[in-house]
């Protein structure tokens, strides 16, 4: 059933100056069905809010219309079967008919919750509509309870008559507005950008409320929103408005995947959509090379002089509220820093202290060379630190664009030619030269924002603080502002960006400060913030979509570090496209390299032990041990990253004490098959040197890449940075990976692996195949006897997909084996039985070379 039917509707706002304004809505034809979740999006000024007002009947019925109002309205709007707006008659007899305001059947939630509160307590606010409907007290009470429960504010009921709306958080305020309308039991609820003025927590709260509404009621919901994630999640259909016209309507997935449409109409798109611009489906990059070799290039913060220094700075408001608690902070000159946190976390207070608006209660600071100990010194700060407030309407003090910029200059005592030159230059810079004589009050929102920035930067500040530069603005406006800010930063201005937009943080900032309850709880790079679940949770921040995808890929091992923006993903895809080299190394290649390396090693003296890096180094270590005369071999597990990609520098060197300290002289060989970035090997060496300071170690790898941060002492061969090396014994692993990620490359792999393996390796492979075909239940771990059974264990772990591959240590078993399904791999049954006894296992699965 169609609940909203709009036919060829035109609307022009009355302008009593005699100049006709353009139509705000042009020929709108739209039908919205019962129970539908209908989304409306589009750039700022496209008519989204006007359309909402028209559906509710506020436009035109609540506005003063000019005598010839037929020039302002055309078409018809029907809601819930009633005519809301329609013109009847012609010429002088034309009249406006319709039901007008559709309350309470249609509820409207606007952007700013503050302006929608009409009374002074939560109880009064929710009951206001009901009182106007003349609802009895008993029913009113039950409706209020029900509405508050619906929006998750049920627990406020007990104190509802004592709580002033201004005491609520942003999210609670907006939910209260929704509750006030729900209490009136509307059939249609219109939400006009309900989350745009909220902090991340508030956004989450409102989105959860919308989710609940969608799930629990059959209400028809119309949502106006810029945020593509919200639209993708909720909307059944999505309409795009542009300059008052409906330019597209369809499923959100259809709209957002239409790159031409979204870029033409400046629509925010999910981050993944940004990448479609660069890669069509056919050209999708193929994961045929080791993605872990990718390292994103990020700007590093150099050692520069601090321009902002805060030492133990605290601030308390008059009522005793501690807004800042012992803040210690250094910000380097020329940096672009993001300041994030919930509303009330202290970020605005901190910024106002830095800009001199507030004086700290205690602590010392030095800002741009000024130590503002007295009020006189503090008053100098605005000429060094410019603060652009969130609401541009709050910063317009004059009646022309030129005067507005001149206002700052006059305050600084800059007049005459210099002032004129600066005004001209700044207007040009922010693209407002053609608006120089216009009244700022009548500029568009984006233009006002640029004017606010221009009025601030005309003083050539050393520090610029910008509060929420992109809130409530469409994609183009946001980018314009950010480009201005970025250019300023490139020119050496230190920028502090107060924002809730994590996409902005990822894209533009290399340092993030997170505030919570007046304290600085995080100071680091965006990528480390996005990987720190605790801080994200504590500050109710949500990582951007790019990071969420990265995390998934890190978990599956495809990526080593998170990609935090579409730009970095693009870089990654370009990397993938450029990496096409695959190098295969057979068992005999390894043997040949091992022989070559053994000769080199002998020249340095026979090592007393070999430590290899799990799992890659074990085969090479085994061969080296044999060629050097049976040296003791022990594996260590090491990773520069943990399983989700966070740098942990986790190196387990436990269990090698006996091996290394057995002899007091000589050296140990640290073996790996390939040194790629070098970070893991570097970390291993750091750990070994730290734990055994009196012992010598030499590094030895079969292959090395030039980009490695550590150059192995002994190395058989160099490979280029963009080469993915696949070893014989990785056959199963490699095929599995390619089946999943890139089946197109399987033929090449199969061609290589179908080559007949030879000699001893072929025998081990055949043994491994035989054993693995007989295994009925996949073991949880394979424990191998050192040296003699290394290769077999490696091959079995591949074939059986066993991740835990543990070397046997009779003194300290690394894995609690009792009661578990474990496979023991040894040279013969006797050795395996001895291992089983030492580990306390009854009837373990045994695999030997003699099987």
């Amino acid at each position: 059933m169609v609940l909203v039917a709009i036919r060829d509707f035109y609307w022009r706002y009355p302008n009593f100056t005699g100049i006709k304004s353009d139509y705000a809505l042009k020929g709108i034809n739209l039908e919205i069905n019962e129970g539908e979740f209908f989304g409306i999006t589009g750039p700022s000024g496209s008519g989204k809010t006007t359309l909402c007002y028209a559906i509710t009947g506020l436009i035109p019925h609540q506005l003063k219309l000019p005598p010839h109002f037929e020039e302002n309205i055309r078409g018809e709007i029907n809601v819930l079967g009633k005519t809301v707006t329609k013109l009847e008659g012609t010429g002088d007899s034309v009249k406006l008919v319709g039901a007008g305001s559709m309350a309470p059947e249609v509820g409207l939630v606007m952007q700013d919750p503050e302006s929608q509160f009409l009374s002074m307590s939560v109880m009064n606010e929710v009951s206001l509509g009901l009182q106007l409907m003349n609802i009895g007290k008993e029913e009113m009470e039950s409706r209020i309870r029900e509405a508050l429960d619906m929006v998750g504010l049920g627990e406020l009921y007990a104190n509802a008559d004592k709580i002033h709306p201004s005491e609520l958080s942003g999210g609670q305020k907006q939910r209260l507005v929704i509750a006030s309308l729900l209490a009136m039991k509307p059939k249609i609820l219109i939400l006009d950008e309900p989350t745009s003025d909220l902090d991340p927590k508030g956004k989450i709260e409102v989105v959860e409320t919308i989710t609940k509404l969608k799930e629990a009621s059959k209400m028809t919901i119309i949502l106006v929103e810029h945020n593509p994630d919200v639209m993708m999640r909720f909307a059944d259909r999505l309409a795009v408005l542009h300059e008052g016209s409906l330019v597209a309507i369809g499923k959100p997935s259809e709209i957002y995947s239409n790159r031409e449409l979204t870029s033409r109409y400046n629509i925010y798109t999910p981050e993944v959509s940004d990448l479609s611009e660069y890669f069509s489906i056919d050209e999708k990059p193929k994961l045929e090379i080791p993605t872990t070799a990718f390292s994103v290039k990020r700007e590093t913060i150099g050692e520069k002089l601090p321009i902002i220094s805060l030492n133990d700075v605290s601030f308390s408001y008059e009522d005793g509220t501690k807004a800042l608690k012992n803040i210690n902070l250094r910000i380097e000159k020329g940096s672009l820093v993001a300041l994030v946190g919930q509303n009330g976390s202290g970020k605005s207070t901190l910024s106002k202290i830095i800009s001199g608006i507030l004086a700290p209660t205690s602590g010392t600071m030095e800002i741009a060379g000024i130590k503002p100990r007295t009020k006189k010194e503090r008053l100098k700060l605005p000429f060094h630190v410019s603060y652009v407030f969130q609401n541009p309407d709050h910063q317009i003090f004059t009646r022309s664009v030129t005067d507005e910029i001149n206002y700052s200059l006059k305050n600084a005592g800059i007049t005459g030619d210099e002032a004129r030159e600066r005004i001209e230059e700044i207007l040009k810079r922010v693209g407002l030269s053609d608006k120089a004589n216009e009244d700022p009050v009548f500029l568009g929102r984006g233009q006002k924002r640029r004017l606010a920035v221009a009025s601030s930067i005309v003083l050539k500040p050393e520090i610029l603080i910008v509060d929420e530069p992109t809130t409530g603005q469409d994609y183009r406006m946001s980018m314009e502002i950010m480009e201005i800010i970025k250019r300023l930063n490139n020119d050496g201005v230190t920028v502090m960006l107060i924002t809730h937009d994590m996409r902005l943080v990822a894209e533009y900032c290399r340092r993030v400060l997170v505030m919570s309850k007046g304290s600085l709880i995080f100071d680091g790079t965006p990528e480390s913030l996005f990987m720190d679940e605790n801080v994200l949770k504590l500050s109710s921040l949500a990582e951007p979509q790019s990071v969420r995808i990265s995390k998934g890929m890190i978990r599956t091992g495809v990526l080593e570090e998170p990609l935090i923006s579409a730009r970095e993903w693009l870089e990654f895809f370009n990397f993938l496209k450029s990496k096409t080299k695959i190098a295969f190394r057979s068992f005999s290649d390894i043997e040949a390299s091992a022989a070559k390396m053994a000769n080199a090693i002998k020249k340095k003296g026979i090592p007393e032990s070999i430590i290899y890096v799990e799992r890659g180094g074990m085969v090479l270590a085994s061969m080296l041990s044999e060629k050097l005369g049976g040296i003791a071999v022990q594996g260590i597990s090491a990773s520069h990253y943990n399983e989700i990609g966070v740098v942990t520098k986790d190196v387990n060197i436990w269990g090698i004490e006996n091996l290394v300290i057995k002899k007091k002289s000589g050296y140990s060989l640290v073996v790996d098959e390939l040194v790629d970035t070098g970070k893991t090997l570097e970390r291993i060496m750091e750990e070994l040197h730290g734990k055994f300071p009196n012992h010598s170690f030499l590094t030895c790898t079969m292959l090395a890449k030039p980009r490695s941060t550590i150059k192995p002492d002994i190395c058989a061969e160099d490979v280029s940075d963009d080469t993915w090396v696949v070893f014989d014994y990785e056959q199963y692993e490699a095929i599995k990976e390619f089946e999943k990620e890139n089946p197109a490359m399987l033929p090449e792999l199969s061609r290589y692996f179908s080559k007949k393996t030879e000699g001893q390796y072929a025998a081990i492979c055949s043994t491994a195949d035989g054993i693995s075909s007989k295994v009925q239940k996949t073991p949880e771990a394979i424990i191998y006897e050192s040296q003699s059974s290394l290769v077999l264990a490696r091959l079995l772990s591949d074939r059986l997909s066993v991740k835990k591959l543990i070397s046997f240590d009779s003194n300290k078993p690394a894995f609690a084996v009792q009661g578990r399904n474990v496979m023991l791999v040894a040279k013969d049954k006797t050795s395996a039985t001895r291992m089983g006894v030492a580990l306390g296992l009854k009837n373990p699965e045994i695999a030997t070379m003699k099987d």
Binding site: S115, Q116, L118, D161, E167, G344, D393, F397, S408
Partner: protein
Amino acid sequence: MAQDFQREKKHRVKTILFSARADSFYVNMNPIAKFLLLLLLSIGVVASIIKPVPDVTYNVLVLVFAVGFLAESGTIKYLVKSYLALLVVALLVMMMWWILFNQIGTNPIFSISLLGASLKVTYLSLYVGIGKISGYASMAFMTLLTIMSTRDADIISAFRKLKMPFKIVFFASLIARSLNIMSDDLDSIRQAQFARGSGATSNNIFKKVSSFVMLSIPLTTSMIKRSVDMGFALESRGFSKSKGMSGFIGEKSMHASDIMVIAFGVFMLAVPVLA
């Protein structure tokens, strides 16, 4: 802070000025009784101070009453922080001026001659001065007590109880709410103005006045926008369709304690009038 309401008992309520204890007797008093008491006590104090020799004991009793309930309502800390120093200085200056220009009594504590005129402070003038000032102080403290312990919602409720027309009550309610918003906007605008360097001209009185006048531009713009939003918000609750309002939950009715408070006020008024 906001989430605290959900699980914990609400300890404080926002009042017209600052906040007060939620369970305070004075805060929960019916606003009509509260304003009536303020009126009765103020008339009583005026009756006391217009006498040739004011009743200091009466004035001090009212003052003690006011201070006592400022403490009981948990608002005294704001009074001490914000107004006390100003009030004490103002009252002392007023007393000095009163004594200076009301040369009464014959028994001087001390006297001086200035430009041929003799200025004296007598026991009577000091007593009368103290009597007058204690009266002013008690009225000022009573007024502050009333404002600091009353919520704007209570005032609207009182209007409704007094059967004032629906539109007037609603209009008053909107004004109260608008003032609240305007105060927040004004704070933000003043800070934005400071950030533009206007603070540096603070020593120049003309520039200071000009800066103050300039605040009206963003404030007006902001209030126009707010009023449009509030108008639409009002309409989306069905205001123009409504023919009147039903009563609402939580409206304070007159209790025995409120009647007793009014009776106390009447008694306190009778004392100076009949004495």
